[in-house]
């Protein structure tokens, strides 16, 4: 699936969740489900400090594709992080650089994308783009 299709799928899933509590319940469930990051990558280096919540992000580059693992101390952020990874992991740097992340707004959690709240998720998205940009530049030059 393309990044766009992944996002469409998530948006479609959320359309069945009519109330805000159902949506949150689902996100929280996602947040709980799996340890997203190998604990040895939960280092100061991989830490993205938001004003409210913290996110750890680790990137792997294999066969021209980037994959991410991550974690957060806040469970809602963690649930969203897990969706972001579902959407972006396994794509080429170029795809990631070009991707527009719309699903968070579409499912009604746009405040997580507001720079004014300066939370971990937004910083994480920026960081992912930066990684992708870096690998894209590398592959162009090599």
């Amino acid at each position: 699936m393309t990044i766009q299709e992944e996002q469409q799928e998530i948006i479609a899933d959320f359309e069945y969740l009519l109330n805000w509590d159902d949506k949150y319940e689902y996100i929280i469930q996602l947040g709980k489900e799996l340890p997203l990051i190998d604990s040895r990558y939960k280092t100061e280096d991989n830490l993205i400090r938001g004003c409210q919540s913290r996110v750890w992000l680790h990137a792997d580059f294999l066969d021209g594709k980037l994959s991410f693992t991550a974690d957060s101390d806040a469970i809602i952020t963690k649930g969203l992080v897990s969706l972001v990874i579902k959407v972006l992991s396994g794509h080429t740097p170029k795809e990631i650089v070009d991707a527009e992340i719309t699903f968070i707004e579409a499912i009604g959690l746009s405040s997580h994308l507001s720079p004014t709240r300066s939370n971990g998720l937004l910083s994480m998205l920026k960081q992912i783009k930066l990684y992708a940009l870096a690998y894209q530049a590398k592959s162009v030059h090599s």
Binding site: W20, D21, Y24, E25, I28, C51, Q52, S53, R54, D73, A74, I75, I76, T77, N119
Partner: protein, 417 residues
């Protein structure tokens, strides 16, 4: 759900005075707003907005230097507000009241001007472990510049300042700066004791009263405090204005802070002489409308009666602590009872991240603050990422508290579920 027509304090009809704050009457995500972020900023009564509107509609003009009618009326209104503030905190002279942008600027003013004149390498400034960043960073900046050090009154597990070492801590200290009421814990500190101890060594004291003046009577002469700072926007007044009170004898000794219009007597390129108090510290066109709005806010509070406000808030605080205590897994950060507490309740629930809890409360229309509340060292002290802070104003009622308790329970169910 409690009957909200029961008014906890007979002197104030809370349901009635809520009508002065129409912003409260709105729905957020489909639920009626419960505004419990008053320590961040309070809502403004109509009388405050009307005073500013009237100013702009009738006499708006630059103050002090105008010969003309509007300028004279504007100046009278602006200086009238200064007098109201002087009376409100019982300052000896109205020229002991300096208008600033807020508490933060008031503290920066003292830090810079006092520091410039009195601080030398090796000296210390003493603050407490429960300060707002605005009462830490200005001192760090000037201490760094002067080679002085910042010393800290520690705090115990309950949030109370540990004072048995105060005499030793005061050695080599040039000024003590601490808050009357902590914005992160809500605890009322033993101000008189600290002030008189500092004074026994001739050390002046600055009191950060940002979380005090809206909740209780503050009398600068009775406290015998040397400097005191507060913000209008936390006192039902407009944003962008606040107050530095300073004893005349101190303010006269301090060099000016900012330079510009109004703060000078004569200017030549060779030599400039400064104006008298309070103008020496008010460079540039002041926030006339803001000052007048703050004056109207003080009129409003005095109209309610500051003791009635304290009593009503005390009753609601007692009710809130009782009600929240029953929420499973709740931990209060800062252990004061309602007699030693003003405005603020900080708490955590189980190991729920405050950000998560705040977000689920928000979805229910309940506005609280989460995070470190600009008091990161307090969070570090308790090894927590932050707290959820519910903070009360005079217009809050028992229904707000009930909604908060129910909201937390619902959030906990969702988050821990």
């Amino acid at each position: 759900m409690h009957d909200t027509t029961t008014i906890s304090d007979p002197a104030l009809n809370i349901e009635h005075l809520r009508k002065d704050f129409p912003i409260l009457d709105q729905t957020i995500y489909g639920s009626p707003l419960v505004y419990l972020d008053n320590a961040a900023t309070t809502q403004k009564p109509e009388a405050v907005l009307k005073a500013m509107d009237d100013y702009y509609h009738t006499i708006n003009s630059n103050v002090h230097r105008g010969v003309h009618y509007l300028s004279q009326r504007a100046t009278e209104a602006y200086e009238g507000s200064r007098q109201k503030i002087a009376d409100f905190i019982n300052a000896r002279h109205n020229h002991e009241i300096i208008f600033t942008r807020g508490t933060t600027e008031a503290i920066n003013l003292v830090a810079a001007s006092f520091g410039k004149k009195f601080l030398q390498a090796g000296d210390s400034i003493l603050v407490s472990a429960v300060e707002h960043h605005s009462n830490i960073v200005p001192w760090q900046l000037i201490c760094e510049e002067k080679g002085a050090t910042l010393r800290v009154i520690p705090v115990d597990d309950n949030g109370e300042l540990i004072l048995h070492d105060l005499h030793r801590l005061l050695e080599g200290v040039k000024l003590v700066a601490f808050n009357y009421v902590s914005n992160s814990l809500g605890i009322i500190n033993p101000v008189k004791h600290i002030i008189s101890t500092a004074h026994s060594y001739n050390i002046p004291v600055l009191l950060d009263a940002a979380q005090a003046v809206q909740h209780m009577e503050v009398d600068v002469q009775d406290l015998d405090v040397d400097f005191l700072a507060f913000s209008s926007h936390k006192l039902y007044g407009p944003t962008g204005i606040g107050v530095l009170y300073g004893k005349e004898e101190w303010l006269n000794q301090l060099p000016p802070y900012q330079g510009g219009g109004e703060m000078i007597k004569t200017v030549t390129f060779e030599k400039t002489t400064y104006n008298d108090l309070p103008y020496k510290f008010e460079a540039g066109t002041p926030d006339m409308a803001g000052a007048i709005g703050l004056g109207a806010a003080i009129d409003y509070i005095l109209g309610l009666g500051i003791r009635n406000v304290r009593q009503a808030e005390h009753n609601l605080m007692t009710y809130a602590l009782d009600t929240l205590q029953d929420v499973q897994g709740i931990r209060f950060i800062g252990k004061a009872d309602s007699a030693n507490r003003a405005g603020v309740i900080s708490f955590l629930v189980g190991d729920i991240h405050p950000f998560d809890l705040g977000e689920i409360l928000d979805k229910q229309g309940i506005a609280v603050r989460t995070g470190h509340h600009c008091a990161q060292p307090v969070m570090d002290r308790y090894c927590i990422p932050g707290t959820v802070r519910a903070s009360l104003a005079v217009y809050n009622n028992r229904e707000d508290v009930d909604r908060l308790a129910a909201g937390i329970r619902k959030a906990a169910k969702l988050l821990l579920g």
